[in-house]
């Protein structure tokens, strides 16, 4: 021991060499402990300690890495880099924070819920309708997970032409919140996507912590596309589900919400088609009946007019018949003329006068022998 050389440093040199050693040995550590002395300075910088029964360590970082409102006493998991500061001494610079433990998670979620409730993020008026016949949905889930597989299977069974764009995301762990936020952002950039489904299977409160993370909840609230959040559990709604436009209890339930049932739609269309055909048929029959009835009336009217003309014509025919100049001749009368003039009297007729007597079938040329 005594033979070992004693190194001598200036304070700045010591801080520098200590930081190099820490960087080499512990560039990234995860510390889990009870939160104490939590404070936010100038709305930007966060200071707190994590402690247990025997020790406490100080942390420093940005508000942007906070999962939501925090309070002393909560159990917190911090991902951090140890640093020795030249002025303020040893600290852990946190990059990610996650509330840990069921009680703390519940408390953190309640605090965040109160805050977001005041902002109106859960208002029913904000909820948007889902398109009835979506052709493309973006799914934020862990690639290859049971949730993704269940969703795809049921959605494609119901609407086989549905296009599904998976946006792979970590759905648990300290990096889950950031990963989900990034996936939601990518999903919103799909020009053809009509709905975003954010889904995962059930799990412990710790597993589902990202769905109560303020960054995730705000990303869902700000989504351009309508959202469906489906976490595989029924109790204790997550804030992500509360803020979504629609909530589904399981990935399968989300598929039912999002994908129309083609078989059912087809059946409905067939029923509608039959109904329309029947309506059309009865309209045509009714119209044809009306036309036929009108036509019959018109025909009757014309028949009446024609018969009336026939009757009038028959009367005229009788009148004309009575005018037949040969009729009296056929009855035995004769038409007597002298020098082409008709004779109406025996006056001035002397014996020897030549006369013509016209009968029905010819003319007699005669000479008057006497006049009585």
């Amino acid at each position: 021991m005594d033979n070992q050389p004693v190194l001598e440093f200036s304070p700045a040199e010591f801080v520098s060499i200590l930081n190099q050693t820490l960087e080499y040995a512990y560039s990234r550590v995860v510390v889990v402990g009870e939160l104490s002395s939590f404070r936010v300075a100038r709305g930007k910088w966060v200071y707190f300690d994590l402690k247990d029964d025997e020790a406490k360590v100080s942390f420093f970082g940005s508000v942007f890495a906070l999962p939501g409102p925090l309070e002393d006493g909560m159990m917190v998991r911090a991902v951090a880099t140890p640093r020795m500061h030249q002025q303020f001494g040893f600290t852990l610079n946190f990059r990610q924070l996650q509330v840990a433990g069921e009680g703390s998670l519940k408390k953190a979620a309640d605090l965040l819920a109160m805050k977001l409730e005041k902002e109106g993020l859960f208002d029913a008026a904000r909820k948007r309708q889902l398109p009835a016949y979506a052709e493309m949905v973006a799914v934020v889930s862990a690639a290859g997970s049971a949730a993704e597989s269940d969703f795809n299977k049921v959605a494609l069974q119901r609407w086989p032409s549905l296009k599904i764009a998976l946006e792979d995301a970590l759905v648990q762990g300290t990096e889950a919140a950031e990963s989900i936020v990034a996936a939601i952002s990518r999903a919103n950039q799909h020009p053809a996507a009509e709905i975003i489904v954010i889904t995962r299977g059930g799990g412990s409160a710790d597993d589902l912590a990202a769905f109560n993370d303020e960054r995730v909840v705000r990303a869902i609230a700000a989504s351009r596309l309508p959202t469906v959040v489906a976490i595989g559990h029924e109790n204790d709604l997550s804030l992500a589900e509360m803020v979504a436009d629609k909530r589904a209890s399981t990935p399968t339930d989300a598929a039912v919400l999002v994908a129309a049932d083609a078989a059912q739609e087809n059946q409905l269309l067939q029923q509608l088609s039959v109904g329309l055909r029947q309506t059309l048929k009865s309209m045509l029959e009714s119209s044809a009946g009306a036309v036929s009835s009108t036509n019959g009336l018109l025909q009757q009217r014309i028949f009446g007019l024609v018969d009336s003309e026939f009757n009038k014509l028959e009367l005229q025919r009788k009148v004309v018949e009575s005018l037949d100049p040969l009729r009296p001749l056929r009855q035995g009368y004769g038409l007597v003329t002298s020098s082409g003039k008709r004779l109406f009297s025996v006056k001035n007729i002397k014996p020897g006068t030549h006369i013509d007597v016209r009968l029905a079938d010819g003319t007699i040329n005669a000479k008057v022998e006497g006049v009585k």
Partner: protein
């Protein structure tokens, strides 16, 4: 329609009326009277045919509609 489609029923009626009115004149010549009488008879036959054509046409079109 009538075979003589150029002359309407109304025109035929007017012609017949003129023929009948001719007989109302005085001192009628029997040969002229015969000519007018025959003309009136022809007009009546034409008018009867005209009306029959209308009636038959209606019956035929009614039967066709019922068949359709």
């Amino acid at each position: 329609m009538s075979k003589n489609s150029k002359t309407s029923y109304k025109q035929l009626q007017a012609q017949l009326q003129a023929e009948v009115e001719w007989f109302e004149g005085a001192d009628l010549d029997i040969d002229e009277a015969l000519a007018h009488y025959e003309k009136a008879g022809e007009l009546i036959a034409q008018m009867q045919l005209y009306l029959s054509d209308i009636k038959n046409g209606l019956i035929k079109s009614g039967a066709k509609r019922n068949k359709d």
